[in-house]
């Protein structure tokens, strides 16, 4: 049970918010948007592995080919 994955996702979300806020306040707003997109990409990559083995295990259990 990867409970820490949940907390990692929340942490990265909060971190991206802080980073983009800092970047926005320091004047470079396009970098802030970039940081937001990067943070979201990291979060999605984390969840992708979890979803992958969810779908493969459901497929093997129900013989859905």
């Amino acid at each position: 049970m990867q409970l820490d994955l949940l907390f990692q996702i929340a942490g990265v979300g909060v971190l991206t918010t802080v980073v983009s806020a800092v970047l926005a306040s320091s004047g470079r707003s396009e970098l802030a948007n970039l940081a937001a997109v990067a943070g979201l990409a990291i979060v999605l990559l984390m969840v992708a592995g979890l979803l992958e083995d969810l779908f493969t295990s459901v497929r093997t259990i129900f013989q859905l080919y």
Binding site: M1, Q2, L3, L5, L6, F7, I9, A10, V12, G13, V14, T16, T17, A36, G39, L40, V43, L44, M46, V47, L50, L51, D53, L54, F55, S57, V58, R59, I61, F62, Q63, L64
Partner: protein
């Protein structure tokens, strides 16, 4: 439970991360149940073997169960991301697949009933 709290926190700060968080929590919940589900399915197939029902219909039933599980998972995820229209379309696609799968079983049933009647 903690996923709900965390996603509430994230909803204010970073809305898209909270959606991903709920998806991860849902996937984890289903993953936790899967080993028991595996045992249930294997016990069911063993039971069916002795029962003499054709193997084909058993795999059809399993497929229907799997498809409805995945359809519901996807539709609820879309609803979490406040995409109600998308959820309806996903459910519609899932239902079409279910009907397509259930059709041969119904045909076999009907033909048997007809053959039974004098």
């Amino acid at each position: 439970m903690c996923a709900a709290v965390l996603s509430l926190l994230l909803r204010k700060l970073r809305p898209e991360a909270s959606v991903v968080l709920t998806i991860a929590a849902g996937a984890m919940a289903v993953l936790m149940v899967l080993p028991q589900l595996q045992q249930i399915v294997s016990a069911l197939t063993a039971l069916i073997q002795t029962g003499g029902v054709q193997e084909r219909y058993m795999t059809q039933l399993l497929k229907i169960g799997g498809i409805s599980l995945l359809m519901d998972f996807a539709a609820q995820t879309c609803r979490d991301a406040s995409e109600a229209g998308l959820a309806l379309k996903v459910e519609f696609a899932g239902r079409v697949m279910l009907i397509a799968l259930a059709f041969p079983v119904m045909q076999a049933l009907l033909s048997q009933i007809i053959s039974l009647s004098p």
